[in-house]
Amino acid sequence: MDEEALARELAQLERQQRDAREPAWDDVANGRRSVDEVVAELRARGEDEAELSRMAELMAPLPGAFDDALAERLVESLEPAEVIAMPEREPVRWHRLGWAAAGLLAAAALVVVVVLPREPGPATDEPTPLPEHALSLRPGASELRAADDGPVSVAAGGTLRFSLRPATSYALEPHVWACAERGGTSRPLEVVLDPVVPGRVIEGRATIPADLALGEWTLLTVVDGQPPPAEPCAIEPGPGRRMPRVGFVVTPR
């Protein structure tokens, strides 16, 4: 096999596919034409209807709020962190760094990092007390707050951005997870956290399952000194665990 020739063939395939892109969509991206205009033109040319529909969905303008929220988070990602005290901890499957993780970690690299090993002390089962946390939902690109400042609405399958503000500072790096509750039922939610700085506001987003029933729900967030148990939504409050809640509404996709 001539690998050089194969690499050139692959490169040519990439170029041809790039060149074969419908240029009208660039007009949409640049604001020169609307999605509807381009769809009408391509439909008249007999383009595949399913492909047209998909591309129209993808190319539909993003709301101004999306750009604004994005810009705000980019600015925040450049701000240096302050408290850097990192006790040892077990990895938690509920923790995943959010999309801004890289930026915030980069900011953290600008300051001196002090790693404090856990002090050996008397064995105890007493959980480390955590302060109360105020939970709030932040409307983002895919969430809408009701006009009367009522509960945040989110489409099934969308994400809810939340923040947890501690009443007082503390040094423990907490574990955070979330559940959707209604009546006697609850569902664990996939949570993506921005990098957590102990004692500072915790920010993250929870993905609402696409098959979650429509209507009013309660978002339960858990801030805990310990990792989540096997049944993360079947828990009780305690001194080492804070469980703030807030309502939200699931709307059709």
């Binding site: 990439e14 074969a20 993808l58 980019l74």
Partner: protein, 207 residues
């Protein structure tokens, strides 16, 4: 040139944390990134329970996060003197990052062929017969699919820059913050090891 100078200034101000400049830069780059990712996602099926639109929004955000990561390291590397516009550079980063993200999530099955096979006329020198040529084309698509699936963001950026765009080693080295020697080493390894490994069981005669 004046416009490029203005763009560099805008980048500097945004990476200094200026909100107005950041909003302006996002507004300038986001449409092109959205279009780039829309074309990319056109070739995928969304993961169960997710819409293509949701995937797009996530990937747009991840593209910007990559550009701003490490204090804006990637964004600072853009230099119009290297022959690439800011939009083109942002699109390349977005595409590379998106491929990386899609691969790591492993939640979107890849199509093994482009959307419109008739738009691509490919031949491989080792496929002389008509059926062999069809098979060769299919094998190449499959190899391309594997390449997208397996290469990390940086590898994809290197492949695109060196092979697809046929840019010079020195240019690519500067753009990616690598030494020319490291670029040559990557290229050699890609051609001699990575490509054969990916192409291993593909049969161009299997039409």
């Amino acid at each position: 040139m004046a416009e490029e100078g203005a763009e560099r200034q805008l980048v500097r101000e945004a990476l200094d944390g200026d909100r107005a400049s950041t909003r302006s830069l996002v507004a300038r780059l986001r449409p092109g990134i959205q279009a780039e990712l829309a074309h990319l996602l056109q070739g995928y099926e969304p993961a169960r329970g997710r819409s293509a639109r949701q995937e797009l929004e996530d990937l747009v955000q991840e593209a910007f996060a990559s550009l701003w990561a490490d204090g804006g390291l990637l964004l600072r590397r853009w230099d119009p003197a290297r022959g690439r516009s800011l939009e083109s550079y942002a699109r390349l980063v977005a595409r590379s990052r998106a491929l990386d993200a899609l691969r790591s999530r492993r939640r979107m099955p890849w199509r093994e062929e482009p959307t419109d096979p008739s738009s691509v006329e490919m031949t491989l020198s080792r496929a002389p017969s008509p059926s062999g040529r069809v098979g060769a084309r299919r094998a190449l698509w499959q190899l391309q699919s594997r390449l997208r699936r397996e290469l990390g963001a940086r590898d994809w950026q290197l492949f695109t820059s060196l092979f697809t765009e046929e840019r010079g080693v020195a240019q690519v080295a500067e753009e990616l913050g690598m030494t020319p020697a490291a670029i040559y080493q990557w290229r050699s390894r890609f051609v001699r090891k990575v490509l054969p490994a990916l192409a291993g069981d593909l049969d161009p005669e299997d039409g």
